[in-house]
Each structure stands twice: as structure tokens, then as C-alpha cells.
Amino acid sequence: AKKSDAGTGAAQSNTLSPAKVKIAFVPGGAHPYFQPWKNAAQQAKTDFGLGGVTYNETAGWDQTKQNNLLQSLAAQGYNAFGVFGVSPDNINSTFSDLAAKHLLVASLGSCPAGTTDAASFCLATDVETAAYQAAKTAIQQMGGSGNLVHLTGNKTDSNTQRRIAGVQKAVAETNGKVKLLQTVTDIDTDLQTAQKAVTDLLAAKGTQIKAIVNTAYNPAVASASAVKQSHLPIKVIAIDDDPTIIAGIKDGSVAATVVQNPVGQAYVGAYGLMKLAGGCTMTTPGVDIDSGSFVVTKTNVATYDTQREAKTTQLKADFDSKYLSCK
């Protein structure tokens, strides 16, 4: 006979005071994108009076290792998790495993593939929208016609598939005026691979290309410097606001970048988790919340952060008003 679930797990009291909440932020691996999480987490700790936060990026882009890490953190007494799942296709199992142990999980930065979400909520960039925006910006920069190239990461990742879909959607809207010349995948593994691929691309088709949309970090860095060096009139749309990219915007080698909201993800994510621990429930469990994406060009490079902070404040307010129901 199978033992019922009732007895398993520590009989956790339904409500935890913020001081009892220990949140672990677990990105998929070491990546510049996640660096703001560290400070945001600390900020959340002081602002909300949390019992503890940690940031651990040792997963190394390997779902098994990430699961391992999550279990270790749980064993260490962390009771709430903000996780960027390495593999969106498998991450729901990880989430439900944690939930089964009465631990709270938020999916941060990336949502599980498919329609269901076993985490309490997902606070992430809507990657399809972000890619769509990036492509729109590119099309605008190109003057509405010409050839576009899309550089991105691991093809067997459903987020990549969504990005490809986003770019395709924007291109389709031009009714054939803009042609998606090529989508290059799998070049985000390391910087050198990206550099090599971009150089080859420019050598082969440099003169035909009017803009490059990047939806991954290393290709963005690589295409910015390669275009600059080749003196071709190609508009580069980068991703995120790593210092390198922002420097590129300022010196003109990058036409625009699509910035996401990692700070908001970590900070508001921590807030949501704290509230849930305190006895609130999600009005729609597993809801997907867009943390926002912002197009940054030379004109707003100085000010985009204010816009982003406003979004974060808005998100926090939305949690109180829309997403959470508290007794």
C-alpha cells in the first residue's frame, strides 16, 4: 500500500514571519545577466527584513546539477526559492518536487515551457515579446526594409524557440519588405564561437545585411565589435545592459539594446515569496508575469533605468493588488 502524502515533510506552520523566510536565488549558471540579482537580493533582505538570502550560480547550465543544488540549499534550511530553470522543459518537475516538500518556489527570469507552471508564479521577461521588440527596433533602424539576421543561443531550449518566433512575427508584419536572411543558433556557448560565427557571417553576407538582432549575450558582444571593426553600415541590436553593451551604445557600435529587468525579478520575486510564506495565496497559481523589457538607444541610455525602476515599483504594487490574496 502506498503511504499517503499526509505524513511526509516537516509539518510546516502555515504562516512564517519574514524573519523566518530564507530565500535562495538560483540562476541557471554563471552569466552576466544574473549579476544584478545579488544586490537585489540583499536589498530585498534589508527592505523586507528577511531571515536570509543567498545567491548561488554553481548550477553550470546543467539541470541535474541545478536540482542537486536546490536540494542542498533546502537541506541548508532555505525555504523559498527564486529559480531560473536551466531546462524550461524539465523545470516543472523540479518545482513540483520542491513544492511537495512544502517549499515555496518562484520561477524567475524564465518560465517553464508549455502552459502549466508548477511554481507559485513566474516573474520573467516575456522572451517572445522581448525578441519581437528587438526585431521591431531593428526594422525601424533599418528603415523598414532590407535583410535581417538573428543570432541566438541553444536551439534545443524552448526559450530560444520563443525568441525565434518573436523575431519571425516582427518580420512577418513587414509583409516581405524585411527578409529574415538567417537565424544562427547555438553560438552562445562561448565568446570565441560567437566571434567566429559573426566574422564568417559578415565575410559571407556582410554587404547584404542591414541589421543584426541578438537575443543572446556572447553573440551581442561579438557582433558589436565585429561590425565596428568591419566598418559595415550594419545596425546591431544587442541584449541586456552589461557594461560592454552600454559602452557600445554610447560609442555607436550598438544601435540599440533590449534591456530586461533582473533587479525587478529578484526584488519583487523575493517580495512575492515572502508574502506567500506569510500566508497569502496566489489568486492564479502559476501565473506568468512579465517583468518588462525596454528598448535602449543612444537617446535614452542615461534614463532607461528610471523607467525600469518604475516598472519594478508597479510590479510590487500589482502583487499586492492583483496577484496575491491575503487574509
Binding site: K3, N56, T58, N67, A75, D97, K155, D157
Partner: protein, 362 residues
């Protein structure tokens, strides 16, 4: 026709024995039991467990440490066995990751589109893995090209094929079906099943599958004729051929076994992680070598150690989990893993040398 063991034929003059018994070399004391490399590995693991659990009591937490460790270990044990199957020949199988991926695709597809039950689906997957492995073996024997080159090329071909299959035939990059039994295989341990007050041990349900695989592979190489002939082929191909061993067939069989075990590893990983997806197997390459090589299996072929593979895989799992619990940052973690590995193995080496000294002094 079964011929009996050849007996000394009385009609044959039996050489020296007709004079007198040959003086056999006086047997001096042989190596002490603790000279066995497997024993050293066990000690290293035990020491690490003690160290980690005294530093972090949560290392012994059943639900959060012990159970997940067993589940991971099961996967990496089978991955290691998949590599071991061809290391026995002195070959390598660089396509282990993608043999797992292609089999996982076929299994996922069968579950999703044909609604095949869990276990028959596994059998289909194993058959696919074995077939791909056999193909690798066949190419190696007919062309006599280095197994490294052949399996590397095969890996390339399969990487492409798998991703094309998922985007073409499958739905994106994963199958999200959960055939009956898959979820309980993932989440349950034997302690969830009770007879009255008597519950099983906290062992995940997939562990027996891996253990069974290890036992079968162990027996194959230890007692079966085919396994021994594979080892002899690995030990000295020319001598094997001149001893009447059908070496080509044995090479193909060893590679087929490797493919089959890769498929099993893919299945176990899919169970553990909850979906049959395109990235199954992509993390298998290094662990596949790690277990066997740490366990004392040489890359040169002719000898394998299944028990060593179990211990080698366990060692890596213990180090990683323990260091995870100590919460190092990413760079420290890697540094410490490397250092622990070198130090542990050096100490093991010292033990071995001491043992050999003892053994040769009568």
C-alpha cells in the same frame, strides 16, 4: 556435440611429469586485501562522508540529500557503464550523449504519439540505442578507423538529427507526456510503500534499475564467455583473432551494449528530470569517463571494474553534494572539486604503493 574438457591422454607421453614434478615457484605472500584499488576508493568516500557530515549535518538529511543523491547516482552509474562497455575494448564512445538523446527522442515520441506504456517504451528505446551502438561498432570493425573518430562523427550526425527530429517530427524541443508510472518512478521511494507498519528503505524506485544494470554488466564481464572474449579482444586484438575469437562480432556487441546502456541512462535521466527533451544526454560526456576511470578502468582496454565504476560515480556525487552544502561560490566550488580529487587520489596512490611494498617483502 559437446566435447568434454580435454583430459590428459594416457597415450601421450607426458613430458617432464614422467620424470618428476616440476618445482613450482615458492609462493610468497600475496598482496594484502587493502591493496585493492576499489578498497582505497571506498575509504576515500567514507572519509569524505564523515568530513562533510561533520561540517554540515544536513549531509545526512534523508529527504533532501540522501534520496536525491541516489537518484542522480543511478543515472551516472549507468552513463559510466555505457562508457565502460567500450573501454573494455580500449575503445571510446564519444556518442554516449547523443545515443541517449536519440533513444530518449524515440521513447518520448512513442509515449506521446503511440501512447505506448512506460516499460514497452523503454524496451523500444533500448533497442534503438543498441542499434545505433551496433552501427558504430560495425563501422569501426569494417573500416578499422579509430573508435574516437567514428563515434565523434556519429555524435555530430546525431546532434543534428536529434535537433531536426525535435523541431520537425516532435513538438519543439521536448515531449511533455507522462506515461503511467513515470511520475511515481521519479518521486517515490520504497519507504512510500508499506505493509502495515513496515515500510521500505528510503531508496528511490529507479535505483534498482541501475543496480540491475550494474549487476548484469558485471556478470557479463566476469563470468560470461562473450564478456571475456570482449576483454581478450581489448587486451590484444591480434592475439584474440589468432585465438579464434570472432573479434569483429565482439566489437560490435560491446558497442551495442554501450548504446543500450546509453539509452537506459537517457531514460533514467528523463524520469529524474521529468521530460523527454532534446538536451537529454548533453551532460553525459565527462561523467561517462569519470566513473570508470576513477574506478580504475584503464583506457587501454582488457580490464574493467564495474564495482570501481559504482564507487567512482559515488565519489564524484559525494564531492559535489558535499561541496554544494558548504555553499562555495562557483569558482571556489570548481577549485575545491579539483583539489579534493587530486588529493584523494594521491592518498589512494600512497596506500597502493605501501601495499605493494608490503606484498613484495616476504
Amino acid at each position: 556435440m559437446s566435447a568434454p574438457l580435454p583430459q590428459p591422454d594416457p597415450t601421450i607421453a607426458t613430458g617432464p611429469t614422467s620424470d618428476q614434478q616440476v618445482a613450482q615457484p615458492r609462493a610468497v605472500r600475496t598482496l594484502p586485501f587493502w591493496a585493492n584499488p576499489r578498497f582505497g576508493l571506498l575509504i576515500v568516500i567514507a572519509v569524505l562522508v564523515v568530513v562533510f557530515s561533520s561540517l554540515r549535518s544536513s549531509f545526512l538529511n534523508v529527504d533532501l540529500t540522501i534520496v536525491p543523491m541516489q537518484a542522480d547516482l543511478s543515472v551516472f552509474l549507468v552513463v559510466g557503464l555505457a562508457q565502460l562497455a567500450v573501454l573494455s575494448l580500449g575503445h571510446m564512445n564519444l556518442a554516449v550523449p547523443r545515443m541517449a538523446a536519440i533513444s530518449a527522442f524515440v521513447m518520448g515520441w512513442c509515449y506521446q504519439h503511440l501512447s505506448v506504456p512506460l516499460w514497452p517504451g523503454l524496451l523500444i528505446g533500448l533497442a534503438v540505442g543498441a542499434t545505433v551502438g551496433a552501427a558504430a561498432g560495425w563501422i569501426i570493425t569494417t573500416t578499422r578507423v579509430n573508435s574516437f573518430v567514428v563515434t565523434l562523427a556519429l555524435d555530430f550526425a546525431l546532434v543534428g538529427l536529434v535537433s531536426l527530429l525535435y523541431s520537425g517530427v516532435g513538438d519543439g524541443v521536448a515531449f511533455n507526456v507522462h506515461p503511467a508510472g513515470m511520475d511515481s518512478l521519479r518521486t517515490d521511494t520504497f519507504s512510500d510503500y508499506c505493509m502495515g507498519n513496515l515500510c521500505g528503505p528510503p531508496v528511490p524506485l529507479i535505483v534498482p534499475i541501475a543496480v540491475l544494470a550494474a549487476i548484469v554488466v558485471g556478470l557479463l564481464f566476469r563470468v560470461s564467455r562473450v564478456g571475456r572474449e570482449i576483454l581478450m579482444t581489448g587486451s590484444n586484438l591480434r592475439a584474440a583473432e589468432l585465438s579464434g575469437i570472432p573479434t569483429s562480432r565482439r566489437i560490435i556487441q560491446a558497442h551495442a551494449l554501450s548504446g543500450l546502456l546509453s539509452a537506459l541512462a537517457g531514460f533514467l535521466l528523463a524520469i529524474n528530470s521529468g521530460a523527454f527533451s532534446a538536451d537529454i544526454g548533453s551532460s553525459f560526456m565527462l561523467p561517462s569517463f569519470l566513473g570508470p576511470v576513477l574506478g580504475g578502468t584503464l583506457l587501454s582496454g582488457g580490464a574493467v571494474s564495474v564495482l570501481g565504476t559504482v564507487l567512482g560515480a559515488a565519489l564524484t556525487e559525494v564531492i559535489r553534494t558535499g561541496l554544494n552544502l558548504l555553499q562555495f561560490s562557483v569558482q571556489q566550488l570548481n577549485i575545491y572539486i579539483g583539489v579534493v580529487l587530486v588529493v584523494a587520489l594521491s592518498l589512494d596512490r600512497v596506500r597502493q604503493v605501501v601495499a605493494e611494498r608490503r606484498g613484495s617483502r616476504s
